[in-house]
């Protein structure tokens, strides 16, 4: 009997015990009707070949292990970045259970959102009644300052019109007439979560800005961070930098407090976020900066329409990306970049110089959201690494072109390949046929790490199987320092593991590296 009260074994050790191993072996043999071992190992070997890769990359219809989610997830994340705002997703209710779970599993935090719970009858007659009743219930139960409405694909397929539905609900007194109910159509069959983010933020800005007169405040800057699983660490770090510079800025969408509430006995359904008044005033800003270009195209377009100057970045991570961001902020705000920040920069460069011998020539595969991949590729090249495979399942041809331009600008990017629209099963083939030293991505990459032996570094949403990484910044010089350390730890841990066999590799297991 493997179990005992003294030393309780859970699943990880328990099923390695001989009783269970024997039981599982017999189950397989007698009841599973498996393919013969040889056929399985032949097929496994075949999946690692160039021939399999070609078939794999030739796929036209099937998607396996994509690195993207659907629009409404982005909309729910976006809404969480505004003061006391409840997400109301119009359509089937199961979707909302999924978004909430997904966000909670990453942030290890509550994630509130409601559904209009449409069922078969609503599919036939439309979901107006669900909107009317739903808004009334949400308003009364959850005491929001704003309800941000988005849609699941069900509501989109049947063609429910949010604008008129919300109007109808107001006519029926579901919420007061002047209560803010911005909305965005977020069809799951178009784009990905980053587009849902874009649509929701744009919907909120339109709601508050449309028809309002704009009086420009010189030097005032709006910042749109984009969908970011590291918003908790990143937004706070960015605000610190901007405060050090003395810039007048407004974050449009900031979920850093919402997804990092304290444990002190009180459950805060809402915390932090951009104040409604600030959103209104943000119309007057001189410029709006997007931290993630490919994540905010529509929103930025709208900002230009209302007369603001705009600029966009690809996730300001690393030395030059941070330089560019700060210089742009300095140019618009008229504030100088203070010496303290220059010293921070110098300390990052110092750290990179200290470690350069361990990083030069290392090959990477990087996947994730478009701007993140762009940023990581750039930083990797700054360290002398080579971003061999750059993949974004939700990357567009514009992203591909931008990234190729970046890669062409550095000798370290010459051999890099860009994979727009490909999934992680395609990446598996790429890693087998053109291996790399390190894989940068999210938790889903752990299956690639297991299959191909490429060490995984988790720096991208979602991270389910490691805790608290998102609480630390990746942005700015400080963030880059953390990314640098994370990469180095992975390299050193691997080297130690590979040289730790007593009597075999007593050499190379160095105390100082």
């Amino acid at each position: 009997m493997p179990q005992s009260a003294e030393k309780i074994l859970d699943h990880a050790p328990l099923f390695r015990e001989p009783e269970y191993r024997k039981m599982l072996a017999e189950k397989k043999l007698n009841f599973e009707c498996p393919h013969p071992d040889e056929i399985v190992s032949d097929q496994r070997d075949f999946t690692q070949t160039w021939e399999y890769r070609e078939k794999n990359l030739a796929r036209k219809a099937l998607v396996v292990n994509p690195a993207k989610a659907c629009q409404p997830l982005g909309a729910v994340f976006a809404a969480a970045g505004f003061e006391r705002t409840m997400s109301f997703v119009h359509g089937s209710q199961g979707c909302v259970a999924y978004y909430r779970s997904h966000l909670s599993r990453h942030f290890k935090e509550p994630a509130a959102a409601v559904s209009s719970s449409m069922t078969e009858d609503a599919a036939v007659f439309g979901g107006l009644k669900n909107m009317v009743d739903g808004l009334a219930n949400t308003y009364q139960l959850y005491d929001p300052k704003m309800i941000a409405v988005s849609t699941t694909c069900m509501a989109e397929v049947i063609g429910d019109d949010l604008h008129s539905f919300i109007q109808n609900a107001k006519d029926e007194d579901s919420v007061p007439r002047d209560f803010d109910v911005p909305f965005a159509h977020t069809p799951a069959f178009v784009g990905s979560h980053v587009d849902g983010y874009d649509n929701m933020v744009k919907g909120i800005l339109e709601h508050f800005w449309k028809g309002q007169e704009r009086t420009q405040v010189e030097g005032a800057i709006n910042i749109i961070p984009g969908f970011d699983g590291f918003c908790v660490g990143n937004n706070r770090e960015l605000k610190r930098l901007l405060d050090v510079m003395g810039v007048s800025y407004t974050f449009i969408q900031d979920a850093s407090d919402q997804f990092d509430t304290p444990s002190d006995g009180e459950y805060r359904m809402y915390d932090g976020g951009t104040k409604i008044n600030e959103v209104k005033k943000a119309l007057n800003a001189e410029a709006t900066l997007s931290l993630q270009h490919h994540n905010t195209r529509k929103t930025l377009g709208y900002c230009e329409e209302v007369g603001q100057a705009t600029a966009s970045f690809h996730y300001p991570l690393g030395v030059q990306a941070t330089d560019e961001f700060l210089m742009e902020v300095a140019a618009i705000s008229g504030k100088e970049i203070p010496e303290a920040i220059r010293l921070e920069r110098g300390r990052l460069v110092d750290a990179m110089a200290d470690s350069q011998s361990w990083l030069h020539g290392k090959k990477y595969a990087i996947y994730g959201d478009p701007d993140f991949v762009h940023a990581m590729a750039r930083f990797v090249m700054e360290t002398g690494g080579e971003p061999t495979h750059c993949l974004a399942t939700n990357g567009t041809s514009a992203w591909e072109a931008d990234l190729k331009k970046l890669l062409a600008s550095s000798p370290f990017g010459k051999a890099a390949q860009v994979w727009a629209g490909k999934d992680l099963w395609a990446l598996r083939s790429l890693l087998f046929t053109e291996p790399v030293d390190l894989l940068i991505g999210n938790s889903y990459g752990k299956y690639l790490e297991r299959d191909t032996g490429t060490p995984l570094i988790r720096l991208m949403f979602p991270i389910f199987d490691r805790h608290h990484h998102h609480r630390f910044a990746l942005f700015g010089y400080q963030g880059a320092l953390r990314v640098l350390t994370t990469i180095l730890d992975k390299i050193f841990d691997k080297l130690d593991r590979e040289t730790s066999e007593t009597g075999v590799t007593d050499y190379s297991y160095d105390l100082t590296r």
Binding site: H11, L14, E19, K68, F189
Partner: protein, 500 residues
């Protein structure tokens, strides 16, 4: 070891009244029917089994905008019933999200070479685009099946798990499945589990069960030599290895588990099920349909059992053994005796650390009743329980488990659950990921009772030891004493106990 206690029914009735007063009238009227306090039934005392009556409305539509915790039919089919069948490829047919959010989240353990002969922790999606909505996705589905056959030729079958748009745009996944079944001589199962069907995961279970009946049974000549002690384990999804910790006991008492539905299952185990002598059903809610069908059509008897906690395990083992006669009964007594010292030492270790602690549960369709006795075995008290997607027969069965005065909540809303927990301040809440962090912020220990909070197994004797350890570490962790800054408030009684 069923404990004698009664809950504070008056407090619970007051809490119900309070939460209802916050709803708009129309919603309050509807929600009222889902909330109740368990009352002593007429039979209580006489018929020793029935402890209370838990009479609430269930399995009806959720109210819009209230933050129901429920999922959808797709979650019930792909996520629960079909997803764990490991040697089949399950296509999430429609847009990318559903498959993405449910990817690898239920912890249905299995052994196999993933991506080669097993596919459990992979996400196959048709990733619908606008053009698929406009022109239909049947052609794409055909192409997807072709591509699966090229890249994953060792799959033993395919299921097509329909997402919302499929039923709305009028695709004919059945026709595609029939055509491709013929072409590849392989089992291909269309499952009409669009998320808007029904009111919760529950209809998805039913539809998935029906798909087994219609698209798997009697389709192949199953070569299998049946034995006298053959059983199927039905409705054990092997979460954290539950089905393995159960199988080991069933084998020890002399039974042969010829099929496990559907944790760690292969298609072969599903196909041969009608040849077994007895269906043992753990999750009644999600798989009773197919058991009834197998009884009617193939004459396979079925029996509910409960492998949570020693009291229920012993009772269930004896019940199962009775079905097979003295030889198995004798072995069963030996098995019970063999594990008794483990049970005694586990209880001896944890009882004093947990005794009298109160628990509130809110889970899916089975566990809100099934785990009750396991807590009581550890000296704990269940003060409230409720289901996401139970039917009235589940609430009837709940009366066999919960005591007079227990707070009962069906399809609870986020608001209600928060207020109930605030009002009762239990020592532990057992529910899901969406509930975990709000509850913990309130300073109340929590365990996820869907995923076992990344632990498990919880079934069987091996599982009970883990369950006891996990409940103890949740309740007696020192972090709960650190919530209040000392300069703000004097520290209360510290309750943490170091692990032993």
């Amino acid at each position: 070891m069923s404990r004698e206690y009664e809950n504070d029914g008056a407090l619970h009735a007051k809490l119900i009244e309070e939460v209802l007063s916050h709803y708009p009238d129309k919603a309050a009227k509807r929600r009222k029917k889902h909330l109740n306090v368990a009352k002593s039934g007429n039979e209580a005392g006489g018929e020793s089994e029935v402890l209370s009556e838990c009479d609430v409305k269930s399995n009806i539509k959720s109210i819009p905008g209230v933050m129901t915790i429920r999922g959808c039919a797709y979650a019930g089919s792909k996520g629960v019933v079909w997803g764990p069948v490991k040697d089949m490829v399950h296509i999430s047919h429609g847009p990318v999200g559903c498959g993405q959010y449910s990817w690898s989240q239920r912890r249905n353990y299995y052994v196999g070479t993933t991506g080669v002969d097993t596919f459990g922790t992979m996400q196959f999606t048709s990733d619908f685009q606008e053009k698929d909505i406009v022109f239909g996705g049947d052609k794409k589905l055909e192409q997807i099946i072709d591509e699966i056959e090229v890249l994953f030729p060792l799959n033993n079958g395919i299921t097509v798990q329909s997402e919302c748009p499929i039923g709305l745009i009028g695709d004919d996944t059945e026709a595609v499945s029939r055509k491709k079944t013929k072409e590849y001589d392989k089992t291909i199962v269309p499952v009409r589990c669009e998320g808007f069907r029904g009111v919760s995961q529950s209809l998805g279970h039913h539809i998935a069960n029906d798909a087994i009946r219609d698209w798997v049974f009697d389709k192949k000549d199953v070569k299998f030599e049946a034995g006298p002690y053959d059983v199927n384990v039905i409705g054990d999804y092997n979460i954290g290895g539950d089905a393995w910790a159960s199988r080991i006991l069933l084998e020890e008492i002399g039974l042969r588990v010829v099929g496990n539905w559907s944790g760690d299952a292969t298609l072969a185990e599903i196909e041969r099920a009608p040849k077994a002598k007895l269906n043992l059903i753990h999750c009644y809610r999600s798989m009773n349909y197919i058991c009834r069908h197998m009884e009617e059509k193939y004459g396979v008897a079925w029996m509910e059992y409960n492998f949570f906690g020693p009291s229920q395990i012993e009772a269930s083992l004896r019940n199962i053994a009775k079905h097979f006669g003295p030889e198995i009964e004798e072995k069963t007594e030996k098995v019970i005796a063999k594990y008794r010292p483990l049970v005694d030492t586990v209880i001896a270790k944890y009882l004093s650390r947990l005794e009298g602690n109160t628990v509130m549960l809110y889970v899916g369709g089975l566990r809100p009743r099934h785990v009750v006795t396991a807590y009581e075995d550890l000296g704990m008290v269940i003060v409230g329980t409720g289901y996401e997607f139970a039917h009235s027969d589940d609430y009837q069965r709940t009366g066999h488990y919960v005591k007079n005065g227990t707070l009962i909540y069906d399809d609870v809303t986020g608001y209600e659950l928060e207020k109930f927990i605030e009002g009762i301040r239990p020592n532990l809440v057992g529910s899901g990921i969406k509930e975990k962090y709000p509850v913990q912020k309130m300073g109340i220990p929590f365990r996820q009772m869907h995923s076992w909070d990344y632990s498990g197994p919880y079934h069987g004797y091996d599982g009970f030891a883990i369950f006891a350890r996990d409940v103890d570490l949740a309740i007696n962790n020192p972090v709960w004493d650190l919530f209040h800054a000392p300069w703000k408030r004097s520290r209360g009684d510290e309750r943490a106990m170091a692990a032993e």
